[in-house]
């Protein structure tokens, strides 16, 4: 098994992009707000190095390492969706209504994703490779359904997504959709349909999303929450305005 020049370039580009994004998240302290997302990117950096080393020096380990990493990748992606929800939802009892809506929609989403996977795959898996195909399709379908549940449960309530949260959500949605279409195509046309080009398309789409995340997380959050000092200044202006209004009112009378 040899790696083509294009595959090698994609591998190297993926590593550099993930490392750059990790640097942005750590240096600009974005990790505090998005710990799971930062863990996911760090995990991707380590995964690329480990898979490359396994490919070069211990090929027998490659497959088991690849699939174990894929399972962890999926778990982290689901955790990121919940992390985005936590960032959008208001805290406390008042936000319970919105959280319950998401819980109901996401629970229904698991059932829908299971049903869709069964319908697309057409049968329950038996062999090891069938289980892998089936779980890949299920994970991509579940990601799309959970993201939709999150989008609808927040947009219906008019909750405003901040710049970083929106970038994370949009990136996940684009990547989730491409992954779903590619997995669906593989299930229907077989894994050798158009050779590896479909897979390259998926990798390029993901790398474009990572570049978009680097650009978005490098920018400041569009929060306009006032600092304590600014609040004090505004309160003083308000008091002065009220005092002047009182004075004017008294003069009129």
């Amino acid at each position: 098994m040899n790696v083509s020049t294009l595959a090698g370039a994609l591998w190297a580009a993926g590593f550099i992009e993930h490392a750059a994004l990790l640097l942005v998240l750590l240096a600009l302290r974005r990790w505090k707000r998005f710990p799971f997302f930062t863990s996911y990117i760090a995990f991707n950096v380590i995964r690329t190095v480990m898979l490359f080393c396994a490919f070069r020096f211990a090929k027998s380990l490659y497959a088991s390492l690849y699939w174990s990493a894929a399972a962890l990748d999926f778990i982290l992606q689901v955790l990121i969706i919940f992390e985005v929800m936590r960032a959008i939802m208001p805290p406390g009892e008042w936000g319970e209504d919105a959280r319950r809506r998401f819980r109901v929609l996401s629970s229904a989403g698991v059932v829908v994703a299971f049903g869709l996977t069964l319908a697309i795959h057409n049968k329950m898996p038996h062999s090891y490779s069938e289980w892998i195909d089936w779980s890949q399709l299920f994970s991509s379908t579940l990601s799309v359904v959970l993201l939709l549940a999150m989008a609808f449960s927040t947009t219906a309530l008019g909750l405003v997504w901040s710049r970083h949260v929106a970038a994370l959500g949009t990136g996940l949605a684009v990547w989730g959709l491409v992954d779903f279409f590619v997995e669906g195509a593989y299930q229907y046309f077989g894994p050798r349909w158009h050779g590896v080009y479909l897979d390259y398309f998926r990798i390029l789409a993901y790398q474009a999303v990572v570049l978009y995340w680097i650009a978005s997380f490098s920018r400041r959050e569009n929060s306009r929450i006032l600092s304590a000092g600014q609040h004090q200044v505004l309160n003083e202006i308000q008091s002065q305005a009220e005092a002047q209004a009182d004075l004017l009112g008294r003069r009129k009378h």
Partner: protein
């Protein structure tokens, strides 16, 4: 079969994400001046009448202050005339939508309290829209010769919901965005 499921689910999901993105972008980039400019002005006399009708509905004890102490001092025809008829109803429905966006404007500055108030405004808007739909359906049915007696109650509910939305929004701006409160008071 599998191919069609993937195609349909994919297209529906893409449409859902696009709708969400457009809506989310709109909420994120709302410009106060632009949104305020899209409010349809309501004449002062009508606004006063809306307040009176709403208070009659929300605070029954207020009728004690009237000459004729009765809870039905206004007939449905009077309420209809007070809000400005069909055009007035359209204005209320339009302004209700704009008020939701105006609440979202404040949400960027303050999260906790604004979230709760904007959800109250949203619930009022939902009741208002439901009422407007009922009234429109009833008016259409009337042209076909059917009479719906619920309309009178819906009318009062619509007016009360609008009044509540307006009061909540003005108070929200007064406490959280007082630099823009005066401008809002001028047009709302």
């Amino acid at each position: 079969m599998g191919f069609w499921i993937v195609a349909v689910v994919g297209v529906v999901a893409a449409a859902g994400f696009s709708w969400h993105e457009a809506r989310s972008r709109k909420l994120r980039s709302v410009d106060f001046d632009q949104i305020v400019g899209s409010l349809q002005p309501i004449p002062v006399a009508q606004l006063r009448a809306i307040g009176e009708i709403a208070r009659d509905f929300l605070d029954p004890a207020s009728v004690k202050r009237r000459e004729k102490c009765s809870q039905i001092w206004l007939e449905p025809e009077d309420i209809w005339a007070c809000i400005g008829g069909d055009a007035g109803l359209k204005r209320l429905a339009h302004n209700a939508e704009v008020m939701i966006l105006l609440a979202a404007c404040v949400y960027r500055w303050d999260i906790d309290e604004t979230y709760v108030v904007s959800q109250r405004i949203r619930r009022d808007a939902l009741q208002l829209k439901r009422g407007v739909l009922q009234i429109r359906l009833a008016r259409f049915a009337r042209t076909l010769g059917y009479r719906n007696r619920k309309v009178a109650f819906e009318l009062q509910q619509v007016v009360a919901s609008y009044h509540l939305m307006r009061e909540r929004l003005l108070l929200l701006y007064e406490t959280k965005q007082y630099l823009q409160h005066a401008r809002l008071l001028e047009v709302l």
